[in-house]
């Protein structure tokens, strides 16, 4: 990535190669990780950074991002008190903390996780055939250049294994936190979770505290094996450039229930790539974004139904004020043979100003003939019947409107997997609405 964009067309890709060379020269990581980095770099160069016409980035302007010259972050320091304040009270002894993209053992506490959870640095785990095969396969099929960029530049990460029949009793929190930086820096955190057969895990991911010059480019892969249940939440609350990709693969009768919130950023984008590969898998994806000022939050969703009897439901709610921008670009693909698929997608946008913008692009690609797929999107202002109802109970117009605006968000906040996560969302997201009253 470079500040000059006029010379050759693949200039940004060259800049990444430059970063790649620097990261590899100072890197003592494993040969398997290097091989993975190399494969991802080649993929990145083949995919190229998106231009305006790129199908995947129709609503997301990446020009400024691509034109910015980022350096790879050296891991900074974060005060323990700052981290403690961000750890949910029910995850004090079950938290993994990443500082500037790198796992920080000192700030993490896994004492409550038990023997059924195994943690291995990515650089070590990737020496196992299962891990390296999986990661190389994801590179082969990768369609997002920023995710490939993470693969090219990641110097380490974490692999979690929830062993067979393990129910993790405490919610696991994964906190990504960035330190202040005066110059533009790039973080590439990476996590890979194997939820083995009949395991259960509740995991709350939080991206926090990025400085304005910081680009967080995260990738999280989760393999949900037969009958495993994952309750997942993700909260984007960094004031930086934020790109994250969540890729899940679900086996027979597994469940993945996800509730996400975005508080927006200079440019925030979440990419969901979900694969339902065996019969009976169930996926739920809820997402709320609350945006004001010039904040942006974009979601790109691909759900692949590859097997019979799988269910996916998506509910997106965007609350956009001022000059905020949100977009949902969501595709459900029902592959041949995935009969009796049930898939629902609903997008609700509440637009509170004349200058805000919300783009929705629902897509269905159906290659099976006995399926039930629905999608819908609403864009609107507050429901006037509700406003009137509240007024006839004595609430003022302003109070009624504020209450309803909050309730639009609140009904999604209530899908958060724990009261602690819900409270955190409430504190950050509803406060923004308060500031606009």
């Amino acid at each position: 990535m470079t500040t000059t964009t006029t010379e050759t067309a693949n200039r940004p890709e060259l800049a990444i190669r430059d970063l790649f060379n620097k990261s590899q020269s100072g890197n003592k990581t494993s040969p398997a990780l290097k091989k993975f980095n190399q494969a991802a770099l080649e993929k990145l160069e083949a995919l190229k950074f998106p231009d305006r016409k790129h199908e995947m980035y129709t609503f997301v302007g990446t020009r400024e991002l691509v034109a910015t010259e980022f350096a790879l972050a050296a891991s900074g320091t974060i005060a323990k008190e700052q981290v403690d304040a961000l750890i949910y009270s029910n995850s004090k002894n079950s938290c993994l903390v990443f500082v500037d993209g790198a796992f920080c053992e000192e700030l993490s506490d896994i004492s409550a996780l038990g023997a059924g959870v195994r943690l291995t640095p990515l650089s070590e785990a990737i020496e196992q055939a299962e891990v390296s095969d999986y990661l190389l396969a994801t590179v082969k099929d990768e369609n997002d250049v920023f995710s490939a960029m993470n693969g090219a530049l990641v110097s380490d990460g974490l692999v979690l294994e929830i062993t067979e029949n393990t129910t993790v009793d405490v919610p696991l929190q994964i906190l990504y936190i960035s330190s202040e930086s005066k110059t533009p820096v790039l973080h590439c955190p990476r996590i890979l979770i194997f939820a083995r057969r009949s395991s259960e895990l509740n995991v709350a991911v939080k991206f926090s505290g990025g400085a304005t010059s910081c680009f967080v480019n995260a990738v999280q892969d989760i393999l949900v094996e037969e009958n495993a249940h994952i309750t997942y939440s993700q909260f984007q609350d960094d004031s930086a450039w934020h790109f994250s990709k969540l890729r899940t693969t679900q086996k027979r009768a597994s469940r993945f229930i996800s509730s996400n919130a975005m508080s927006g950023a200079h440019l925030a984008r979440c990419h969901y790539e979900m694969w339902l590969t065996e019969p009976g898998a169930e996926l739920q994806l809820n997402s709320l974004s609350v945006l004001h000022k010039e904040e942006q939050a974009h979601n790109y969703v691909q759900i692949h139904h590859q097997a019979e009897h799988c269910t996916s439901t998506q509910l997106f709610r965007n609350l956009v004020d001022d000059k905020g921008r949100s977009s949902i670009d969501g595709t459900v693909v029902v592959h041949p043979g995935a009969q009796l698929t049930s898939s629902e997608q609903l997008i609700n946008n509440l637009m509170l100003s004349d200058d805000c913008r919300a783009d929705n692009k629902p897509n269905l690609k159906i290659y099976a003939d006995d399926v039930k797929c629905t999608h819908g999107a609403t864009v609107g202002q507050l429901n006037e019947d509700q406003v009137f109802y509240l007024k006839t109970r004595g609430l003022s117009e302003a109070t009624a409107r504020t209450l309803l605006t909050r309730s639009f968000a609140e009904s999604m906040i209530q899908t958060a997997p724990s009261p602690q996560v819900a409270e955190d969302w409430r504190n950050v997201l509803l406060k923004k609405l308060g500031a606009n009253e």
Binding site: L390, K391, T392, G394, L395, R406
Partner: protein, 247 residues
């Protein structure tokens, strides 16, 4: 308490109410009956101050003051309560919290101090006990996913808290089975005292078995075509509306 004088009103240029006059005094219960499309619900909406309905001529006086131009919230704060035919669902707004806001808005209007959540909870619980309502009504979101009967019970609870001077209950009985109807009617009877007034808008006589009106009015095509005492409702039940509307 309420004086309606030759009221003409409608929405989007259609005149629906064509000269209604009605006088409701303290301590009285009036039933307004009529076939579908006669203007019953429009009357309720006009009384509650719905912005889509405009008064074209005539006037509505509440405690001697003209209601023209008075906002829905001020009508509510002054003691008019509208019980909805279809109470609106408001997902994401906790019922107890909403009730407290509505209750406190009334207190502020009266120049009193707001109740804190603890004190309010005691008050709410006492009203719920009186109406025989389960605790779930506090925890759930306002009317969200409520059955028809639950919504009407919740309306009754709001009425119990807000203690209006005049309550207008629009088709409170519609969609209720006999048990739910009895619960709602019992609640209304408990709340009704001689310093209050009640207007029941209903299609069926059934509700009037439980809440006894002093007067019954028949509304048809936007006019009150007959007024009488309670016996009129029974006549209507036996003969339908046709014998009146065909005249």
């Amino acid at each position: 308490m309420l004086e309606i004088k030759d009221l003409h009103a409608g929405s989007e240029g259609n005149e629906i109410l064509k000269g209604i006059s009605l006088s409701v005094k303290k301590g009285e219960i009036h039933a307004i009956m009529g076939p579908n499309g006669s203007g019953k619900s429009t009357l309720a909406k006009v009384l509650s101050g719905h912005p889509a309905y405009k008064i074209t001529s005539g006037e509505i006086l509440f405690e001697g003051k003209d209601l023209q131009g008075v906002s829905a919230e001020d009508r509510a704060l002054n003691g008019i309560f509208m019980g909805y035919q279809y109470p609106v669902e408001v997902p994401g707004v906790n019922n107890a919290e909403f009730l407290r806001m509505a209750y406190n808005a009334r207190l502020v209007k009266q120049g009193k101090e707001e109740l804190d959540p603890m004190d309010f909870d005691d008050l709410l619980q006492s009203k719920m006990d009186m109406l025989g309502m389960e605790v779930k009504y506090k925890e759930r979101n306002l009317n969200d996913g409520f059955s028809g009967g639950e919504k009407k019970k919740n309306e009754t609870l709001q009425m119990a808290l807000l203690e209006p001077k005049l309550a207008i209950l629009d088709e409170t009985d519609s969609g209720l089975d006999i048990d739910a109807l009895r619960v709602v009617a019992d609640g209304v009877n408990k709340l009704y005292t001689k310093d209050k007034a009640l207007i029941l808008i209903t299609h069926y006589q059934r509700l009037l078995d439980y809440i006894k009106p002093d007067y019954v009015h028949v509304l048809s095509k936007g006019c009150i075509i007959k007024s009488g005492e309670k016996g009129l409702a029974l006549e209507l039940e036996a003969q339908g509306y046709d014998w009146l509307t065909k005249v």
